[in-house]
Protein backbone atom coordinates (compact mmCIF):
# COMPACT_ATOMS: atom_id res chain seq x y z
CA UNK A 1 0.00 0.00 0.00
CA UNK A 2 2.13 2.80 -1.32
CA UNK A 3 1.69 6.15 0.50
CA UNK A 4 1.63 8.98 -2.06
CA UNK A 5 4.72 11.15 -2.37
CA UNK A 6 5.27 14.53 -0.74
CA UNK A 7 4.69 16.56 -3.87
CA UNK A 8 1.36 14.90 -4.47
CA UNK A 9 0.24 15.44 -0.88
CA UNK A 10 1.34 19.09 -1.09
CA UNK A 11 -0.63 19.64 -4.28
CA UNK A 12 -3.63 17.82 -2.83
CA UNK A 13 -3.70 20.08 0.22
CA UNK A 14 -3.25 23.28 -1.79
CA UNK A 15 -5.97 22.13 -4.20
CA UNK A 16 -8.44 21.44 -1.42
CA UNK A 17 -7.78 24.75 0.31
CA UNK A 18 -8.07 26.71 -2.92
CA UNK A 19 -11.38 24.99 -3.71
CA UNK A 20 -12.59 25.80 -0.21
CA UNK A 21 -11.46 29.41 -0.51
CA UNK A 22 -13.29 29.90 -3.78
CA UNK A 23 -16.45 28.53 -2.18
CA UNK A 24 -16.66 31.57 0.07
CA UNK A 25 -14.61 34.40 -1.43
CA UNK A 26 -16.04 37.00 0.93
CA UNK A 27 -13.94 35.87 3.83
CA UNK A 28 -10.79 36.28 1.76
CA UNK A 29 -11.49 39.81 0.65
CA UNK A 30 -11.04 41.07 4.20
CA UNK A 31 -7.23 41.36 4.23
CA UNK A 32 -7.31 42.98 0.79
CA UNK A 33 -10.03 45.47 1.76
CA UNK A 34 -8.17 46.15 4.99
CA UNK A 35 -4.95 46.88 3.11
CA UNK A 36 -6.68 49.38 0.80
CA UNK A 37 -8.71 51.01 3.57
CA UNK A 38 -5.70 51.54 5.85
CA UNK A 39 -3.77 53.25 3.07
CA UNK A 40 -6.73 55.56 2.34
CA UNK A 41 -6.89 56.58 6.00
CA UNK A 42 -3.57 58.39 5.89
CA UNK A 43 -4.46 61.01 3.26
CA UNK A 44 -7.70 61.60 5.20
CA UNK A 45 -5.89 61.88 8.49
CA UNK A 46 -3.11 64.10 7.18
CA UNK A 47 -3.28 66.83 4.56
CA UNK A 48 -3.22 65.01 1.21
CA UNK A 49 -0.43 67.17 -0.29
CA UNK A 50 1.67 65.03 -2.66
CA UNK A 51 4.97 65.97 -0.98
CA UNK A 52 3.84 64.79 2.45
CA UNK A 53 2.21 61.60 1.15
CA UNK A 54 5.23 60.75 -0.93
CA UNK A 55 7.44 61.07 2.12
CA UNK A 56 5.36 58.66 4.19
CA UNK A 57 4.32 56.36 1.31
CA UNK A 58 6.84 53.53 1.94
CA UNK A 59 6.00 53.38 5.64
CA UNK A 60 2.25 53.41 5.05
CA UNK A 61 2.31 50.73 2.34
CA UNK A 62 4.51 48.42 4.37
CA UNK A 63 2.77 48.88 7.72
CA UNK A 64 -0.58 48.31 5.99
CA UNK A 65 0.77 45.14 4.32
CA UNK A 66 2.09 43.87 7.69
CA UNK A 67 -1.20 44.53 9.47
CA UNK A 68 -3.23 42.98 6.62
CA UNK A 69 -1.19 39.78 6.77
CA UNK A 70 -1.55 39.81 10.56
CA UNK A 71 -5.32 40.01 10.14
CA UNK A 72 -5.23 37.13 7.64
CA UNK A 73 -3.14 34.88 9.90
CA UNK A 74 -5.98 34.66 12.39
CA UNK A 75 -8.05 32.55 10.01
CA UNK A 76 -5.22 30.30 8.87
CA UNK A 77 -5.89 27.18 11.00
CA UNK A 78 -8.88 28.11 13.14
CA UNK A 79 -11.48 26.66 10.78
CA UNK A 80 -9.66 23.34 10.38
CA UNK A 81 -9.08 22.91 14.11
CA UNK A 82 -12.69 23.73 14.93
CA UNK A 83 -14.21 21.20 12.53
CA UNK A 84 -11.72 18.45 13.41
CA UNK A 85 -10.05 18.09 10.00
CA UNK A 86 -6.73 19.20 11.50
CA UNK A 87 -6.87 16.13 13.76
CA UNK A 88 -7.18 13.87 10.76
CA UNK A 89 -4.32 15.74 9.10
CA UNK A 90 -2.16 15.22 12.18
CA UNK A 91 -2.97 11.50 11.98
CA UNK A 92 -2.32 11.15 8.26
CA UNK A 93 0.82 9.36 7.02
CA UNK A 94 2.02 12.60 5.44
CA UNK A 95 4.38 14.78 7.49
CA UNK A 96 2.35 17.47 9.28
CA UNK A 97 5.06 20.07 8.58
CA UNK A 98 4.58 19.66 4.84
CA UNK A 99 0.79 19.79 5.05
CA UNK A 100 0.86 22.96 7.14
CA UNK A 101 3.35 24.49 4.70
CA UNK A 102 0.91 23.62 1.92
CA UNK A 103 -1.93 25.24 3.84
CA UNK A 104 0.17 28.37 4.39
CA UNK A 105 1.10 28.45 0.71
CA UNK A 106 -2.57 28.22 -0.30
CA UNK A 107 -3.40 30.89 2.28
CA UNK A 108 -0.66 33.13 0.86
CA UNK A 109 -1.99 32.66 -2.67
CA UNK A 110 -5.39 33.86 -1.50
CA UNK A 111 -4.34 36.70 0.80
CA UNK A 112 -0.67 37.59 0.27
CA UNK A 113 -0.47 37.58 -3.51
CA UNK A 114 -3.50 39.91 -3.97
CA UNK A 115 -1.70 42.43 -1.75
CA UNK A 116 1.29 42.33 -4.06
CA UNK A 117 -0.87 42.70 -7.16
CA UNK A 118 -2.85 45.63 -5.81
CA UNK A 119 0.11 47.47 -4.29
CA UNK A 120 0.78 49.60 -7.44
CA UNK A 121 -2.70 51.11 -7.18
CA UNK A 122 -2.23 51.84 -3.49
CA UNK A 123 1.23 53.26 -4.18
CA UNK A 124 -0.21 55.46 -6.88
CA UNK A 125 -2.81 56.76 -4.44
CA UNK A 126 -0.01 57.75 -2.10
CA UNK A 127 1.99 59.49 -4.83
CA UNK A 128 4.79 56.94 -4.52
CA UNK A 129 7.19 57.70 -7.41
CA UNK A 130 6.56 55.31 -10.28
CA UNK A 131 10.16 54.04 -10.46
CA UNK A 132 9.82 52.68 -6.90
CA UNK A 133 6.75 50.56 -7.71
CA UNK A 134 8.52 47.56 -9.31
CA UNK A 135 10.95 47.29 -6.39
CA UNK A 136 8.08 47.59 -3.93
CA UNK A 137 6.16 44.82 -5.66
CA UNK A 138 9.26 42.64 -5.72
CA UNK A 139 9.95 43.26 -2.05
CA UNK A 140 6.29 42.62 -1.15
CA UNK A 141 6.38 39.39 -3.16
CA UNK A 142 9.29 38.27 -0.96
CA UNK A 143 7.95 39.70 2.30
CA UNK A 144 4.32 38.54 2.27
CA UNK A 145 5.26 34.82 2.27
CA UNK A 146 7.57 35.44 5.23
CA UNK A 147 4.73 37.19 7.05
CA UNK A 148 2.40 34.30 6.23
CA UNK A 149 4.91 31.78 7.58
CA UNK A 150 5.52 33.76 10.78
CA UNK A 151 1.77 34.21 11.11
CA UNK A 152 1.37 30.47 10.59
CA UNK A 153 3.73 29.62 13.42
CA UNK A 154 2.03 31.96 15.85
CA UNK A 155 -1.47 30.98 14.69
CA UNK A 156 -0.60 27.33 15.30
CA UNK A 157 0.50 28.25 18.82
CA UNK A 158 -2.66 30.20 19.66
CA UNK A 159 -5.29 28.35 17.59
CA UNK A 160 -6.79 26.51 20.51
CA UNK A 161 -7.13 29.57 22.72
CA UNK A 162 -10.28 31.51 23.26
CA UNK A 163 -8.88 35.04 22.97
CA UNK A 164 -6.21 34.50 20.34
CA UNK A 165 -6.61 37.80 18.43
CA UNK A 166 -4.72 40.32 20.56
CA UNK A 167 -2.23 37.68 21.62
CA UNK A 168 -1.53 36.73 18.01
CA UNK A 169 -0.45 40.26 17.08
CA UNK A 170 1.71 40.52 20.20
CA UNK A 171 3.51 37.31 19.18
CA UNK A 172 3.85 38.13 15.47
CA UNK A 173 4.98 41.77 15.48
CA UNK A 174 8.41 41.47 17.17
CA UNK A 175 9.35 38.59 14.85
CA UNK A 176 7.95 40.31 11.76
CA UNK A 177 9.75 43.57 12.46
CA UNK A 178 12.94 42.83 10.49
CA UNK A 179 10.77 42.12 7.43
CA UNK A 180 9.16 45.53 7.84
CA UNK A 181 12.55 47.23 8.20
CA UNK A 182 14.08 45.63 5.12
CA UNK A 183 10.92 46.00 3.03
CA UNK A 184 10.25 49.65 3.80
CA UNK A 185 13.94 50.32 3.29
CA UNK A 186 13.87 48.70 -0.17
CA UNK A 187 11.04 51.01 -1.25
CA UNK A 188 12.74 54.01 0.36
CA UNK A 189 16.01 53.36 -1.47
CA UNK A 190 14.22 52.83 -4.78
CA UNK A 191 12.31 56.08 -4.28
CA UNK A 192 15.48 58.08 -3.89
CA UNK A 193 16.95 56.40 -6.93
CA UNK A 194 19.57 54.53 -4.92
CA UNK A 195 20.37 50.87 -5.38
CA UNK A 196 17.90 48.79 -3.33
CA UNK A 197 19.19 45.34 -4.18
CA UNK A 198 20.79 45.00 -0.75
CA UNK A 199 17.46 45.07 1.08
CA UNK A 200 15.97 42.70 -1.49
CA UNK A 201 18.72 40.16 -0.86
CA UNK A 202 18.14 40.40 2.90
CA UNK A 203 14.43 39.79 2.38
CA UNK A 204 15.23 36.80 0.16
CA UNK A 205 17.53 35.44 2.88
CA UNK A 206 14.76 35.82 5.48
CA UNK A 207 12.38 34.02 3.13
CA UNK A 208 14.74 31.07 2.79
CA UNK A 209 15.18 30.92 6.55
CA UNK A 210 11.41 31.10 7.11
CA UNK A 211 10.61 28.46 4.50
CA UNK A 212 13.16 26.02 5.91
CA UNK A 213 12.49 26.37 9.65
CA UNK A 214 8.93 27.50 10.21
CA UNK A 215 7.10 24.42 8.84
CA UNK A 216 8.64 22.31 11.62
CA UNK A 217 7.82 24.96 14.20
CA UNK A 218 4.25 25.06 12.85
CA UNK A 219 3.94 21.27 13.09
CA UNK A 220 5.33 21.22 16.63
CA UNK A 221 3.04 24.07 17.66
CA UNK A 222 0.01 22.39 16.09
CA UNK A 223 0.74 19.12 17.86
CA UNK A 224 0.92 21.05 21.13
CA UNK A 225 -2.38 22.79 20.41
CA UNK A 226 -4.09 19.52 19.47
CA UNK A 227 -2.81 17.84 22.65
Amino acid sequence: MEVPGLGQAFALQVGRDMRLAFRHLGQLANPLMFFIMVTTLFPLALNPSPQLLEAIAPGVVWVAALLASLLASESLFRQDVDDGTMEQLALSPQPLALMLLAKTAAHWLMTGLPLVLISPIVAYGLFLPQEAVPVTMGALALATPILSLIGGMMAALTVGLRRGGGLLSLLILPIAMPVLIFGARATDLAMTGMESVGAIYLLAALLLLAMSLSPFAMAAAMRISLD
Binding site: A9, D83, L91, D227
Partner: protein, 215 residues
Protein backbone atom coordinates in the same frame (compact mmCIF):
# COMPACT_ATOMS: atom_id res chain seq x y z
CA UNK B 1 -5.31 -2.14 36.04
CA UNK B 2 -3.40 -3.85 33.26
CA UNK B 3 -5.21 -6.64 31.53
CA UNK B 4 -3.77 -10.08 30.80
CA UNK B 5 -1.13 -10.17 28.06
CA UNK B 6 -2.11 -10.84 24.45
CA UNK B 7 -2.82 -14.41 23.50
CA UNK B 8 0.53 -16.10 22.79
CA UNK B 9 0.81 -16.87 19.09
CA UNK B 10 -0.74 -13.63 17.87
CA UNK B 11 2.24 -11.27 17.58
CA UNK B 12 1.32 -8.13 19.48
CA UNK B 13 1.47 -5.06 17.24
CA UNK B 14 0.34 -2.31 19.58
CA UNK B 15 2.12 -2.00 22.94
CA UNK B 16 1.28 0.45 25.72
CA UNK B 17 3.75 0.55 28.61
CA UNK B 18 2.80 2.12 31.99
CA UNK B 19 0.92 5.08 30.56
CA UNK B 20 0.04 7.88 32.92
CA UNK B 21 -2.08 10.94 32.16
CA UNK B 22 -3.36 13.84 34.23
CA UNK B 23 -6.12 16.29 33.45
CA UNK B 24 -5.26 19.41 35.46
CA UNK B 25 -5.00 18.28 39.09
CA UNK B 26 -6.73 14.94 38.52
CA UNK B 27 -4.94 11.78 37.49
CA UNK B 28 -6.94 9.92 34.83
CA UNK B 29 -4.92 6.69 34.83
CA UNK B 30 -1.44 5.47 35.65
CA UNK B 31 0.69 2.35 35.15
CA UNK B 32 -1.67 1.38 32.34
CA UNK B 33 -0.11 -1.29 30.15
CA UNK B 34 -1.51 -3.63 27.59
CA UNK B 35 -0.64 -5.08 24.24
CA UNK B 36 -2.95 -5.82 21.34
CA UNK B 37 -2.36 -8.49 18.72
CA UNK B 38 -3.89 -9.29 15.37
CA UNK B 39 -7.57 -10.18 15.38
CA UNK B 40 -8.11 -8.63 18.80
CA UNK B 41 -10.60 -6.00 19.95
CA UNK B 42 -10.00 -4.02 23.15
CA UNK B 43 -13.26 -2.66 24.50
CA UNK B 44 -12.51 0.28 26.76
CA UNK B 45 -15.32 1.22 29.14
CA UNK B 46 -15.72 3.51 32.11
CA UNK B 47 -17.88 6.25 33.54
CA UNK B 48 -18.09 9.62 31.84
CA UNK B 49 -14.98 11.72 32.25
CA UNK B 50 -12.79 8.79 33.30
CA UNK B 51 -10.42 9.49 30.39
CA UNK B 52 -11.49 6.97 27.74
CA UNK B 53 -11.18 9.47 24.91
CA UNK B 54 -7.93 10.82 26.33
CA UNK B 55 -6.54 7.28 26.41
CA UNK B 56 -7.48 6.80 22.76
CA UNK B 57 -5.83 10.09 21.86
CA UNK B 58 -2.67 9.00 23.68
CA UNK B 59 -2.70 5.71 21.79
CA UNK B 60 -3.11 7.60 18.49
CA UNK B 61 -0.13 9.81 19.31
CA UNK B 62 -2.25 12.97 19.48
CA UNK B 63 -1.82 13.49 23.23
CA UNK B 64 1.53 13.24 24.99
CA UNK B 65 1.24 11.06 28.14
CA UNK B 66 2.80 12.21 31.41
CA UNK B 67 4.96 9.06 31.40
CA UNK B 68 4.96 5.82 29.48
CA UNK B 69 5.17 4.92 25.82
CA UNK B 70 3.06 3.63 22.98
CA UNK B 71 4.79 1.50 20.38
CA UNK B 72 3.64 -0.05 17.11
CA UNK B 73 5.49 -3.02 15.69
CA UNK B 74 8.06 -2.55 18.46
CA UNK B 75 8.87 1.04 17.51
CA UNK B 76 7.86 4.05 19.55
CA UNK B 77 4.94 5.86 17.92
CA UNK B 78 6.37 9.30 18.62
CA UNK B 79 9.54 8.34 16.78
CA UNK B 80 8.08 7.05 13.55
CA UNK B 81 4.70 8.62 13.07
CA UNK B 82 4.53 8.07 9.31
CA UNK B 83 4.62 4.25 9.51
CA UNK B 84 2.19 4.15 12.42
CA UNK B 85 -0.34 6.58 10.94
CA UNK B 86 -0.17 4.75 7.62
CA UNK B 87 -1.54 1.64 9.35
CA UNK B 88 -4.12 3.21 11.67
CA UNK B 89 -7.30 5.23 11.35
CA UNK B 90 -9.14 7.24 14.00
CA UNK B 91 -12.88 7.89 14.18
CA UNK B 92 -13.33 10.52 16.87
CA UNK B 93 -16.26 12.35 18.40
CA UNK B 94 -16.17 15.05 15.75
CA UNK B 95 -16.79 14.09 12.18
CA UNK B 96 -13.73 15.93 10.79
CA UNK B 97 -15.56 16.99 7.65
CA UNK B 98 -15.39 20.21 5.72
CA UNK B 99 -18.91 21.67 5.61
CA UNK B 100 -18.40 23.38 2.25
CA UNK B 101 -17.14 20.22 0.54
CA UNK B 102 -19.35 17.33 -0.55
CA UNK B 103 -19.05 13.89 1.03
CA UNK B 104 -17.17 12.70 -2.05
CA UNK B 105 -14.72 15.62 -2.03
CA UNK B 106 -14.05 15.19 1.69
CA UNK B 107 -13.44 11.49 1.31
CA UNK B 108 -11.29 11.76 -1.79
CA UNK B 109 -8.97 14.22 -0.03
CA UNK B 110 -8.66 12.08 3.10
CA UNK B 111 -8.08 8.85 1.19
CA UNK B 112 -5.70 10.18 -1.44
CA UNK B 113 -3.42 11.29 1.37
CA UNK B 114 -3.11 7.65 2.35
CA UNK B 115 -3.03 5.80 -0.97
CA UNK B 116 -3.86 6.32 -4.63
CA UNK B 117 -7.64 5.92 -4.80
CA UNK B 118 -9.72 6.34 -7.94
CA UNK B 119 -13.13 8.04 -7.94
CA UNK B 120 -14.67 4.57 -8.19
CA UNK B 121 -13.03 3.59 -4.90
CA UNK B 122 -14.52 6.70 -3.29
CA UNK B 123 -18.01 6.04 -4.62
CA UNK B 124 -17.78 2.40 -3.65
CA UNK B 125 -16.78 3.37 -0.08
CA UNK B 126 -19.73 5.74 0.17
CA UNK B 127 -22.13 3.16 -1.28
CA UNK B 128 -20.95 0.61 1.25
CA UNK B 129 -22.04 2.88 4.14
CA UNK B 130 -25.36 3.57 2.48
CA UNK B 131 -24.65 7.09 1.24
CA UNK B 132 -25.00 6.30 -2.45
CA UNK B 133 -27.62 9.01 -2.92
CA UNK B 134 -25.81 11.62 -0.79
CA UNK B 135 -22.44 11.54 -2.53
CA UNK B 136 -22.56 15.11 -3.81
CA UNK B 137 -24.49 16.70 -0.96
CA UNK B 138 -22.50 19.38 0.91
CA UNK B 139 -21.26 17.89 4.18
CA UNK B 140 -23.05 20.60 6.18
CA UNK B 141 -26.28 19.43 4.54
CA UNK B 142 -25.91 15.88 5.86
CA UNK B 143 -27.64 14.64 9.00
CA UNK B 144 -25.56 13.66 12.04
CA UNK B 145 -26.07 9.99 11.22
CA UNK B 146 -24.98 10.52 7.63
CA UNK B 147 -21.88 12.41 8.76
CA UNK B 148 -21.02 9.54 11.08
CA UNK B 149 -21.37 7.19 8.09
CA UNK B 150 -18.90 9.30 6.09
CA UNK B 151 -16.40 8.97 8.94
CA UNK B 152 -16.95 5.22 8.92
CA UNK B 153 -16.51 5.16 5.15
CA UNK B 154 -13.17 6.92 5.63
CA UNK B 155 -12.07 4.28 8.15
CA UNK B 156 -13.27 1.40 5.95
CA UNK B 157 -11.57 2.65 2.82
CA UNK B 158 -8.34 3.62 4.59
CA UNK B 159 -7.14 -0.01 4.47
CA UNK B 160 -5.70 0.58 7.96
CA UNK B 161 -4.69 -2.38 10.13
CA UNK B 162 -5.64 -0.69 13.43
CA UNK B 163 -9.04 0.95 13.90
CA UNK B 164 -9.35 3.42 16.78
CA UNK B 165 -13.09 4.00 17.21
CA UNK B 166 -14.45 6.51 19.75
CA UNK B 167 -18.18 5.94 20.25
CA UNK B 168 -18.80 4.77 16.64
CA UNK B 169 -22.45 4.01 17.40
CA UNK B 170 -23.47 7.59 18.24
CA UNK B 171 -26.16 9.09 15.97
CA UNK B 172 -26.53 5.80 14.09
CA UNK B 173 -29.87 4.06 13.60
CA UNK B 174 -30.30 0.36 14.31
CA UNK B 175 -29.22 -0.83 10.83
CA UNK B 176 -26.25 1.51 11.16
CA UNK B 177 -25.21 -0.09 14.44
CA UNK B 178 -25.52 -3.59 13.01
CA UNK B 179 -23.43 -2.46 10.07
CA UNK B 180 -20.68 -1.22 12.44
CA UNK B 181 -20.67 -4.53 14.30
CA UNK B 182 -20.53 -6.41 11.03
CA UNK B 183 -17.58 -4.46 9.60
CA UNK B 184 -15.70 -4.75 12.90
CA UNK B 185 -16.17 -8.51 12.90
CA UNK B 186 -14.96 -8.66 9.29
CA UNK B 187 -11.98 -6.49 10.15
CA UNK B 188 -11.00 -8.76 13.03
CA UNK B 189 -11.40 -11.77 10.78
CA UNK B 190 -8.90 -10.33 8.32
CA UNK B 191 -6.38 -10.01 11.24
CA UNK B 192 -7.12 -6.36 11.85
CA UNK B 193 -7.05 -4.73 15.32
CA UNK B 194 -9.73 -2.57 16.94
CA UNK B 195 -9.60 -0.20 19.88
CA UNK B 196 -13.20 0.52 20.77
CA UNK B 197 -14.68 3.01 23.22
CA UNK B 198 -18.43 2.48 23.50
CA UNK B 199 -20.89 2.68 26.37
CA UNK B 200 -23.30 0.06 25.16
CA UNK B 201 -22.13 -3.49 24.53
CA UNK B 202 -21.04 -4.24 20.99
CA UNK B 203 -22.28 -7.08 18.88
CA UNK B 204 -18.93 -8.11 17.49
CA UNK B 205 -18.47 -11.80 16.80
CA UNK B 206 -15.23 -13.64 16.08
CA UNK B 207 -11.76 -12.44 17.02
CA UNK B 208 -10.60 -12.13 20.65
CA UNK B 209 -12.55 -9.60 22.69
CA UNK B 210 -10.72 -8.07 25.63
CA UNK B 211 -12.00 -5.67 28.22
CA UNK B 212 -10.31 -2.65 29.84
CA UNK B 213 -12.21 -0.87 32.58
CA UNK B 214 -11.01 2.66 33.44
CA UNK B 215 -11.78 3.63 37.04
Amino acid sequence: MSTEPAEPGTESLLEAKDLELWRGERRLFSQLSFSLGTGELLHITGVNGCGKTSLLRVLCGLTLPETGEVSWRGQRVMRNRADYHAEMTYVGHRESLKGELSARENLSFDLQLRHASSPEDIDQALDRVGLARARDVMARGLSAGQKRRVSLARALASRARLWVLDEPYTNLDVPGRDFVDQVMSEHLATNGLVLLVAHQSHGVTGGRIRQLELA
